[in-house]
């Protein structure tokens, strides 16, 4: 397909795609790839804080656990959080955006004002509040993230739906007697998917970053999860001596977020209906 060929010629996007596929691969096959899978829970205090070596490529942490394995195992958690948060935010956000964009009058206004309120919520503070209420955990972090991310989708979809609502082909469909559901889901949604998918891809990277931050602040993953952010938090007391303890999880976060951002950029260029071809 023309779109795929175009994507493959975009070097940064291709690099991003390879990174993302790599991370997904690791997330799925982590337990089989990690040399010391048991290091999720086990501790080997005799090996604590060893620098990178042949046996332990990323060194060990303060409990003697192989950092290489923990970074690999952390991928699964990171992706799970990202996919869940973005998935929920997208479902809520896109639906509301479609309704608000296509309807007029009080329904549309109400939805958009509610969206404005949620947009104003500070992400980290909400996470903190929920952590207080529910006890700090990955679940409270995910709720906070989803609750503050869905408005972005609503805004985008609202703009697209409003724009498409007055386009001629929607007018033609109304003339033919098409119902609202058909117009929204068969016509407006596909044509709005470009900014949605781009925002979702970038959001995946962004969510990983914020989840890591929350983990760092102690409001997300809890020990002994192999969470990247948590690892960096725990490494604080051992810096600058045990530099590997913060560096490798940090690099993992950097690489993953970069990958998603590059793919998002590449997708923006190819998600144009005019690139769809019959042959």
């Amino acid at each position: 397909m023309l779109a795929i060929r175009k994507f493959l010629r975009d070097i940064p996007a291709l690099v991003g795609l390879l990174i993302v596929l790599f991370v997904i691969f690791i997330a799925i096959f982590g337990p089989w790839l990690a040399p010391h899978p048991g290091d999720v829970t086990a501790s080997h205090l005799l090996q604590r804080l060893k620098p990178p070596s042949a046996a332990f490529p990323f060194g060990t942490d303060n409990l003697g656990r192989d950092l290489f394995s923990r970074v690999i195992l952390g991928a699964r958690g990171a992706l799970e959080v990202a996919l869940l948060v973005v998935g929920i935010a997208m479902t809520i956000g896109v639906s509301l955006g479609l309704i608000a964009g296509y309807a007029t009058g009080w329904l549309s206004e109400t939805i958009m004002r509610v969206t404005d309120v949620f947009l104003a919520l500070p992400q980290l503070i909400l996470a903190l509040a929920l952590a207080q209420l529910m006890g700090p955990s990955l679940q409270s972090a995910m709720i906070a993230l989803a609750a503050t991310y869905w408005p972005f989708f609503t805004r985008i979809v609202f703009a697209e739906a409003r724009r498409l609502r007055t386009s001629l082909f929607i007018d033609a469909l109304e003339g033919m007697g098409a119902g609202t559901a058909r117009i929204l889901f068969v016509h407006i949604l596909p044509n709005a998917c470009s900014p949605i998918i781009v925002r979702a891809t970038v959001g995946l990277g962004f969510t990983i970053l914020v989840a890591a931050t929350l983990g760092f602040l102690g409001m997300g993953a809890t020990p002994p999860d192999p969470d990247w952010g948590l690892a960096i938090a725990q490494s604080r007391t051992y810096l600058p001596g045990a530099w590997w303890y913060a560096t490798f999880p940090g690099l993992a976060i950097l690489l993953t977020v970069l990958g998603f951002n590059l793919v998002g950029d590449g997708l923006r260029d190819i998600l144009d209906p005019r690139l769809r071809r019959s042959r």
């Binding site: 082909f169 033609a172 109304e174 003339g175 007697g177 044509n191 209906p273 019959s278």
Partner: protein
């Protein structure tokens, strides 16, 4: 006077657009896009609606279709009153009327193949079996002169002429009896226009269709239409059989319009007959809306709105001075 059945009857139709009440600010007045239009369309005829930009022909077309609600007046479809309804209900009652847009490409969803667009009409209508829908699609594509594998194409892969045919096919699949065609030849090369026009004539005969043909292309209108109505600033100012309008136009605006059309064998570039540009603000409510630009205007013209009167059988004109000017 032919006694074919009148399928569509418009009585005193007026459409005002754009008025808005605002909180704490003076209201924005509505613009009279169409004023006091009376029209009868007979079964099987092609009625041309001609005018320049701002004359209200597209608004009138959309009002007849039902997507634009009329502000006043009534429309009778096959004897039944179909006005006074919101767009969705109006469209349901006027299922026999369909619309082919001017911009055929923009009237198709760029995301789906044209086959999807064609089938969709049938799905909306409730044709249950895919096999039947596919068959009707294939038959219709053949009827408009397209290959059956055109259905797999996307709108941006087709030429202007092909897109017009798809738009026509989509509407015909819904089995209308009246089709409103909005500038069906605009943007088409002359070498391609002929196929569309011949197709329209052929389909009219085979399927017993009636057309409301909105266009500014006078040479096409002359050859295709049975009767022609000229619109200016929301009113019909002259209506007559096509040949008569072109050989004996009575209204000064019609005369100026016809004189302005460039010809292939001119003697010289003719000087413009009417002054000024088409007005962009609301027309005067008293008096003839053409008076400010009319070379024959008298004070009477600015004071009193002329009404359509019968000049000859089938030929109506709205002008105070047509009798004297015809000498």
């Amino acid at each position: 006077m032919n006694d074919a059945a009148v399928v569509l009857e418009l009585r005193d139709i007026s459409v005002r657009l754009g008025g808005r009440r605002r909180w704490l600010l003076p209201a924005i007045p509505a613009f009279p896009a169409v004023s006091n239009v009376n029209l009868e369309i007979n079964a099987g005829e092609i009625l041309g609606l001609v005018g320049e930009s701002g004359c209200g022909k597209t608004t009138l077309g959309r009002t007849v279709l039902g997507l634009q609600r009329e502000s006043a007046g009534s429309i009778k479809l096959n004897g039944e009153i179909v006005t006074g309804l919101e767009p969705r209900d109006a469209r349901r009652k006027r299922r026999a009327i369909h619309y082919v847009h001017q911009d055929a490409a923009a009237a198709l969803d760029p995301w789906w193949s044209v086959g999807h667009a064609l089938e969709e009409g049938l799905i909306i209508q409730g044709v249950p079996h895919k096999a039947e829908r596919q068959q009707r699609m294939r038959d219709m594509l053949a009827a408009v002169g397209l290959d059956s594998d055109a259905a797999k194409r996307y709108p941006h892969e087709l030429s202007g002429g092909q897109l017009r045919r798809i738009a026509l096919a989509r509407v015909l699949l819904l089995r209308p009896s009246i089709i409103i065609l909005d500038e069906p030849t605009s943007g088409l090369d002359m070498s391609v226009q002929a196929t569309i026009l011949n197709l329209l004539l052929d389909l009219r005969q085979r399927l017993g269709l009636t057309y409301l043909f909105i266009s500014h292309d006078l040479s096409v209108v002359r050859k295709l239409c049975d009767r022609v109505a000229i619109m200016y600033l929301g009113r019909i100012i002259e209506i007559a059989p096509a040949e008569r309008i072109f050989t004996r136009p009575l209204h000064p605006y019609t005369q100026a319009l016809l004189a302005a059309v460039p010809r292939l064998e001119p003697q010289h570039l003719s000087a413009p007959q009417i002054r000024g540009d088409l007005p962009t603000s609301a027309p005067a409510t008293t008096g003839c809306s053409f008076a400010p630009r009319c070379p024959h205007a008298l004070p009477l013209c600015a004071a009193q709105q002329p009404v359509l009167e019968i000049a000859e059988t089938g030929h109506e004109i709205a002008c105070h001075r047509w009798r004297e000017l015809a000498q």
